[in-house]
Amino acid sequence: MGSRVIPVRLDDDDLAFIDLLVKLGIYRSRSEAIRELIRAGMRSHEDVIKVAKAVEELFRMEREEGAIPIRLDGALKQLLRERERFQ
């Protein structure tokens, strides 16, 4: 896997935080800290991307099948019955 150098502008507080992580020995350098923090940020968004793709797929199913792909047979009666039970 290749790598490239890119210019990134950081504000003083963020840079101070990164330097602290390096000073504490969590990362060996600013570059390593920034790389790892970017990867962690990307991992935290993986699910958002998966959901967005799944939503697109649901719309594609509707277009292909000509109907909403979520069928909840008998669900309304069930919901209203449950509301009756819930004090």
Binding site: V51, A54, G74, L76, Q87
Partner: protein, 165 residues
């Protein structure tokens, strides 16, 4: 603008229910339709208990069942153009302390309505959304219990009740 109760969305997705067509025509209007976090919770609950549907859909979508429910929820909101408005903050109740706004409001209006907890919460959300500037004019539902809230909605919130039967 209308506040859409969960029952309308569920009716539109329930081919066995005679109210489906009317629910669908309401949801397909271009008018702004707003939902609360309570609608999201009730819908998630309905979807999550359809085990077979969720499993089959998870396989088709190639994501976990947890993400499948989120995807279905998002699809439903987008499909029907439903606007979700987040609610933040707390109210202080005498001798109780801090209570989240919808729950505190539900307690406050409970004596006037005689509704069960979920019904009270839906009306509380309408009241709060209006106070936040959302111009809600109609509360639309398939749940007859809300007839008890008709006068309150009309007189105190200037919102009309539309019940599909």
């Amino acid at each position: 603008m209308m506040y859409v109760d969960t029952s309308i969305i569920v009716a539109a997705l329930d081919p066995q229910d005679p109210r489906r067509e009317e629910a669908m025509s309401i949801l397909e209007r271009s008018e702004v339709k707003v939902v609360s976090e309570l609608v999201l919770i009730e819908l998630s609950s309905v979807l999550s208990r359809r085990g077979e549907l969720v499993r089959a859909m998870a396989e088709r979508l190639r994501v976990s069942e947890e993400l499948t429910i989120l995807a279905m929820l998002t699809y439903i909101l987008k499909r029907f153009g439903l606007k979700y408005v987040a609610m933040e903050g707390y109210l202080t109740m005498p001798s109780i302390g801090r209570v989240s706004k919808p729950f505190a409001t539900a307690v406050e209006i409970s004596s006037k309505l005689g509704l069960r907890a979920l019904g009270l919460l839906h009306i509380a959300y309408v009241k709060l959304l209006k106070s936040m500037g959302e111009p809600i004019e109609v509360f639309v539902t398939a749940d007859r219990n809300f007839i008890k809230a008709k006068r309150f909605l009309e007189d105190e919130l200037n919102v009309s009740l539309r019940l599909i039967t």
